[in-house]
Structures are given as C-alpha cells and as structure tokens.
C-alpha cells in the first residue's frame, strides 16, 4: 500500500490548530455514549443522522485513549487520570483537553507519528490541489496538483482519494477561520459531480473578537465565564435559563445578536464575556491561549476585565455528502472532517465535537479507502486533465493588469456580502440579494488579474484558484439557505421563525449543473431519538 498526504501548507499549519477547547467522549464512569449521542442530536436540532452520531459517540472513548497512547498531553485529574471540563450543550463534563491548545497538541502529536512512519507515508508539503481526476467510468482516480515551491504541475494517480481540506470560513468576513480555509475540497468534489449536503448550515460562534474575528474558546464559558450586555445583565437567563452560557452555540449566538440588535450591546456592536469570575490559577492553567489572544489582539487582560465579543463565522456543518465510511457519491472519492457532511452535526455542531468527527470519520474513511485500493487496479488516467489545468493556469497568469478587478477586491466584497446577509439572522430578500452578488462576482472572477507571473511560490495564482472555490461554496450556501423555509439550528429565517418538522426534517442536497446547483432532498436517519422541542 502506498499512501501520500498532500497539503497546500505544511501540515502543522493546518487549521485544526485552532480547535482550542477540547474533544468530547463519554469515557468517565457514569457517562454513556447514549447521553453524548442525544446531546449531539439535540444540538443538531434533529438534523444530524442518528446512525452516524451513534458510531461517532460509541467510538469516541477508544479514540481518546489511542491519542493518549500516542503522546497527546491531555490534562489529568488529581489521580493522574484523564480529566474533563464542561462544554456547551452537553449534559456531562466530557470534554478532554490540553490547556486551550487541544487541536494544536493533537495535530502536532499526529505529525510526530508521520515523522516516525515517514518510510511508509510520503508527505507532499506545500502542494496545492487544483482539481480531481476522473476516469471514463466516472470514478475518481487522482488529483491534479501544483508544487508550490516551483510551480510544476503533477497528476497524482490514486485508487482512492480522501478530501480533508477543512471548511470554507473565508467566504465570510470576518471569520475565526484561517486564510487557508477556502472550501477547496468541497468545491473540487462539487465540480466533479459529488453531492453537497446541508450547505446552509454555517455556524456562528458566540465568542469572537470584533474586527478580526478571532476565537475565544467555549472553554472559557465551560470554566464558568459569564456573558453580559452593556447594562451588566447576564442576559442568557432570558434565553436559556437552565444551561445559561452553556446552551448550544446557535442559541447563544442568536441571544447575543438579539441583545445587540435591540440596543443592549456596546457601541462597537458587541456584548461582554467576563472571565474574571474564573479563578486566576485556573485561567493560567487552562485558558492561557486566551490570555495571550486578549492581550495581543484586543489589548485586554482577561483576568482583570471583561472582553468584548460577538457572534462570528466559525464552522461549516454542511459539506460533501458522505456515508459513515466517508464514501461520497463518486466511487474512489472520500471525504472527512469539516469538508464532509456525514452528517453528525446537522443544523448546529456542539463544541468539542469537531476534532472528534474528523478523527473518527477520518479513520473510517482511511480504512475503506485502503480496502478499495487493495481491491482494484489503477485506472487509466488521461494526460488531458493535466493539460486542461495547465491551460487554466496559463489563462489566469496571462491576464493583463487592469483587465478586470483585483482578486482581493472580489474576495472582500464576497466576505462582506455573506456576513451581512447570510449570517445569524436571514431572510428571503437578503439571501436573494447575496446570491445575485455571488453570481456577479463569479463572472468578474473570470477576468480578474494577478500580479505574479512566476513559478516559485506564486501565491497570487493560488489565491485566484481559491477565490473560484469560495464562490462555488457561497453560491451553494445561498441556494440552500433560500430553499430551507424554516428555522433550524444555525439557519434562522426571520420570515419563517419556527422549526417545521413536517416539511423540513430533511437534508437539502445540491448537485452541480451548468445552470447552478440543482436541489434534491434526502431523509434524516432517525434511530431512537424522535424530534422534540429544543430548550436549554
């Protein structure tokens, strides 16, 4: 078996770094996978597929132990065993963590293992994927890549391809997401005919810094921090009297936005997160990253004063539609993590379930992809796809300065449009307007020019390709958000403010056509938890 990992950045730069708070598993005595599953399903506003949620929550404890054995430096309790913290939407403290650098710690330990097994696994670090290769039977047979360091194009033949390229947060401005989160895998899969699912479900995280959109971990509220409006009121009492600050993210974000919209926020369009109520020693030990973020990016010492925050774009619940083994509609093409939509998160993801989703379904995809690779022979790939990509790139590079808009201008307009019209509160008029703007930007992107005409680290060119990916993602989100005429999870339609199980307890699937995304529906799998009213 020959395995290669292709990444457009060095793997440790990837955005799993940003998962601060932790990873959920029902591992404590007295906790159960059923409880974890129910919390996840309730959190999803009953749009999560329950068979997939069951698999994820059942396999979670084993995965935590596996990571611990590999060397992740998980926090310990006084007995020296794995310790937990509380997180939003959960009925037990089941979040395992490394201070507030959990994602970073896990990713760096996994990279340690990649270095250990470098004989068996080839790493292509700083190679950019520009499209998927398909054979004549409609199966995926590889990827077309560009070596960022020297600009050479290469077709990687593969019996199985797994897309794990993260989410599409850069479609919104501001966002907690890194600059690399441009929805590459989602767009590449969509372009070769794979179905996308739940693309309207975009999570706004309740605690992001105004301006640049940096994340303040939910762990802060897990450790006991309060949310206050400008009058100093702990406003979550009105919206979620039982769970307060630890209600689901969609609930907390809507509560904050309501306070802000109704004039009880601060003049900079924020409310306050008060971490001073958390003991200082605990802050140093468990929230150090947030101390740094507050100090360096907001000029606030969070141990002494509240910090201003607001809901901000954070996570793509939707993505490439897969089954529980990561298989997409296209044979040979798999997807896992934020790129994929299994769906375990449905309308709203619980905090500390994203690393878990990535690890569990990443593993399952890997197993199935390996089994397929053993079973089949290499397909014959045509050189034409490589030539097509080279021609596409030559076209972008050859555009004259001033022939159109700058890539960065289009990207900015896209981000502002989506954050303004397809965010916490949505309505038909706003989404329609956004969709029209996205369509116009797609046209403008065809003539947008770049400055860099070289081969070595031509980041300008990569940004042009990424812009194309982002526009496809944006179009799909608008179409799905317009289609779902109800409020569920992260999709809140002010013109349809109620959840409507009779008509809309179903997934919206999208498939590419020349006229834009074509809509179909698929059923939500329900095993043992019938939809109920959702209160926290």
């Amino acid at each position: 078996m020959s395995v290669g990992i292709i990444s457009k950045v060095h793997p440790v730069r990837s955005h799993s770094n940003a998962a601060q708070g932790g990873i959920n598993a029902a591992l404590n005595p007295g906790d159960s996978w059923e409880s974890h599953a129910f919390d996840t399903i309730k959190g999803s506003d009953y749009l999560g597929d329950q068979d997939a949620v069951e698999i994820m929550t059942r396999e979670a404890p084993e995965e935590i132990l596996h990571l611990e054995h590999l060397g992740v430096t998980f926090h310990r309790n006084e007995e020296g065993k794995l310790g937990t913290r509380a997180f939003g939407g959960a009925s037990a403290a089941r979040t395992y963590y490394v201070a507030d650098i959990t994602g970073q710690a896990i990713m760096h330990v996994l990279y340690e293992q990649l270095m250990k097994y470098s004989e068996q696994i080839a790493r292509y670090e700083e190679w950019f994927c520009s499209s998927l290769a398909m054979d004549e039977n409609g199966e995926c047979c590889g990827v077309v890549t560009r070596n960022v360091a020297d600009g050479t194009m290469e077709l990687f033949q593969a019996k199985s391809v797994i897309l794990c390229t993260g989410g599409n947060g850069q479609v919104w401005q501001p966002t907690t997401n890194a600059l690399i989160c441009t929805g590459d895998g989602i767009a590449m899969a969509y372009r070769v005919g794979a179905k996308l699912m739940d693309m309207e479900m975009i999570q706004y995280h309740p605690t992001t810094l105004a301006g640049k959109g940096f994340l303040i971990t939910e762990g802060a509220r897990g450790e006991g921090a309060h949310l206050l409006n400008a009058k100093g009121e702990r406003f979550m009492e009105k919206y979620a009297p039982n769970k307060m600050e630890l209600a689901s993210r969609d609930v907390v974000s809507r509560a904050e936005q309501t306070e802000i919209n109704e004039g009880r926020g601060f003049p900079d369009g924020t409310v306050a997160l008060d971490i001073t109520v958390v003991p200082k020693k605990r802050v140093h030990e468990a929230l150090r990253e947030i101390v740094l973020v507050g100090r360096d990016f907001a000029g606030v010492d969070i141990t002494r004063e509240p910090i201003h925050i607001k809901p901000g774009n954070h996570y793509t619940m939707g993505g490439v539609k897969t089954d529980v083994d990561g298989r997409t509609d296209i044979p040979g093409l798999y997807s896992a993590g934020e790129t994929a939509c299994v769906s375990v998160h449905g309308g709203n993801r619980l905090g500390a379930n994203s690393l878990l989703d990535t690890l569990i379904f990443g593993k399952r995809s890997g197993r199935d992809a390996a089994a397929r690779a053993k079973r089949i022979d290499y397909a014959r790939t045509s050189k034409k796809i490589l030539e097509d990509e080279e021609a596409m790139i030559a076209d972008v590079v050859s555009r004259e300065k001033g022939s159109g808009r700058r890539i960065s201008e289009i990207k900015r307009e896209l981000g502002q449009t989506m954050d303004g019209k397809v965010a916490v509160f949505r309505d038909e008029a706003g989404i329609t307007e956004a969709l029209e703007i996205v369509k116009r930007l797609k046209e403008e992107a065809k003539t947008a020019y770049i400055d860099d005409h070289g081969s070595v680290f031509n980041q300008d060119l990569l940004a042009a390709i990424e812009l194309g990916y982002m526009l496809d993602n944006a179009e799909c989100t608008c179409v799905a958000a317009l289609e779902r005429k109800e409020s569920r999870g992260a999709q809140y339609r002010t013109d349809f403010p109620e959840r409507n199980d009779e008509e809309w307890l179903k997934h919206i699937d999208l498939e590419r056509t020349d006229d834009g995304p074509e809509i179909s529906y698929s059923e939500v799998t329900i095993t043992q938890w019938e939809p109920q009213e959702r209160t926290y």
Binding site: G71, H108, H284
Partner: protein, 385 residues
Amino acid sequence: MAEYTIKVRRFQPESGEGPYWEEFNVDLEPSLAVLDGLLQAKDNEDGSLAVRCSCRAAICGSCGMKINGQSGLGCKTQIGEAQELANKVASAAGAKVDNAPIVIEPMGNMPVIKDLITDMESTHWTKIRRVTPWLLPHGEPPEREYVVEPESMIDITQSMACIQCGACVSSCLSMEADPDFIGPAALAKAYRFVGDPRDAETHERLHDLADDPHGIYDCTHCFSCIDACPKGVAPMDQIMRLRRKAGEEGIEDPNAGHAHEVAFVKIIEKKGTLDEAMLVQESYAPGIKGKLKPSKRGIRETIKSLPTILRPLRKRKVKLRQAIPGTHHKLPGDAMDDVKAIYAHAEEHNEEFNLYIKGEEGELVDENVEKGIERSTDPDTAEAK
C-alpha cells in the same frame, strides 16, 4: 487609522537579480499587525509579495519573520509598536525620527526562497527530526490511559505550546556560529519527551543530546530565543532543564557547567556570598568525598584551571589571602537568615517558572490575592503549594 511605511527585504528568485529593498505605504489601525500591513500591500499593490501566513492569530506558526531586526511573528507584532521601535532605532543614530520605515526581513539562519519565505525544511525541520520527535514508551500501552502525575502534563505543555514557527531558530546566536547546533526549537521539542513520564528512553535521549557536540551544551545562554518566542515556550529554559536532568542522570558535562552550578549554589547557601577560592575545587572535587577520592577528570580540570587562578593573583586583582580556600567570611547571622529564606522560597517554587502554572511575568504582582482565591476554591492545591 495611521500611515506606515514598511520596508521589505525582497528577493525574487526568477528575476536573476539579488535581494533588494522595497517600501510600501500602508494605512491601518496601530493595533493591527505587521502582517496586516504586508497583506494590505500585497492585496492593493503587489500580489507577488510572498509571505507565508494563515491563521492571523499566532497559532499556525507560518509567518515567522524579522521585524526591525527582531525575530517573531508578523501576525502577533502590532504595527504601532513596530513603528515605535523603528523610531527608537533610527533616533539612536542621530536626530529624533517619528516615521522611520518598519524594516521587515526573512528569518535568519535559513536559506531564503522568495521574499519573506524561507526554506524551513532543510534547517528547522531537519533539526526537529534529529531529536527523535515521537514518544517511545516501553511495552504495550495500558488498557486505559497512562496514569501520570498531573503536574508532569502541565509541565511539558509549555513545550507542547510550540507552534514550530522558527522564530527562535532565526534569532539563535549559537546557530549563527555553529550551523550544526541542534538549536532551541528542536531541543525544546526534546524536552517534551524527556519530561514526559510515558517516554521510556529518557536516559538514552539525554545521553544523545549531551554527547553531541552540537547538543545541549552548545547553547551560550544568550536569551535570544526566549525573547523571540511568540508562545512563551522559553526554549532556553527547556535546554537548561535538559542540562539539569542530564546532570541528575550522572551524565558528564564537557563544560562542567552543571557541577559548577551546584558548587555555586552550595557555597552561597553556606556562606551567603561567593567564596571564589572554593569554586574550582568544589566544581571538580565536591565535598570531602570528592577531595579524598578525586576523579581523574577532576584533577585534570583543576590543573587546567590553575593559570586562571594565578593570573588575577599576579595582576594583584586578588590578594593572596583571598585565594586561600575556606578563609572567606560568612555573612552575619540575621543576613544569613535572609539567605536561607531565599533558598527556602526557591525550593518551594522550584517548578513555577512554567507559564502554565504561574502565568506571565508581572501577573505575579497580586500573588496574595491569587492565593486567597485558591484557598477558598481549591483547598487541595493550595495546601500542596
């Protein structure tokens, strides 16, 4: 909003020309980052300006660079502060300047590929791989988790906080002199395993790093890496902890640094001030046992040190009386009590330089308040302290 001039050291490898400087005028809030300035120039003026960046929040480690000569992250250095420093540097050379260009260069100790992009693979990552950077436990893993001291995990979390940005490598003065030096990032990574109770190769790792002439004793204690590190990993501290552990494991230090440190601490503990006349003998032949049965190396090193002892005598910087070991006076009783109190305090707070335990410098000001909170909420930990 304020206007800034950033002066970037550029290199376009395909142009056939050498590196050159280019200035860009950017317009942004002083609280925004130098990286934001660079991206504004790239977005609005020249898309070929190459800089690795991703998270913008000091967690991905992509944007290591030198700003006004100091290594750090572009996303974590506020442009207003960078301007102040640039002005200070410019003013030091002559008349007062208030709009000096902010100078931005690629990281040091690494080959430059294009503009601010360096070849980290051949330098940084090669050195990381040198320290066997993966856990080496013995035997099969337990059925559940490894049970370890809770403090041990917090202890190595400081090394785990490293984001592999290379700023410390860029700033390392030892590496400038010895490019083969394993360096601050890789050695901090090594401590993450040496300090990990689950790792079973501690002794082998320490031997490996101590015996390598480019290993832990190649650090010259210059603090540059501590200044450069954007994450408080304090690589030099981790190197010093590796040295201490090597000493505890009985590994011989070619510079006798560990023995020297122990001798220094013991003499002051006994006398309150440093009896320099005792330093050499206590370093190489400590205590009565050391003098009755000196090691070969001890004798060799003592003889080698003789010229160093004789020189100040000859130049009359030291009186003969002062050079006789043991004649050095002890501090008066109450002053000795103070010294003892300092030692007791240091002993008690032995591990507290770890940021995950004590927080940032300056946050200790209201330590008593902090302790008060601890006692009321967490009696167990407060007691242990």
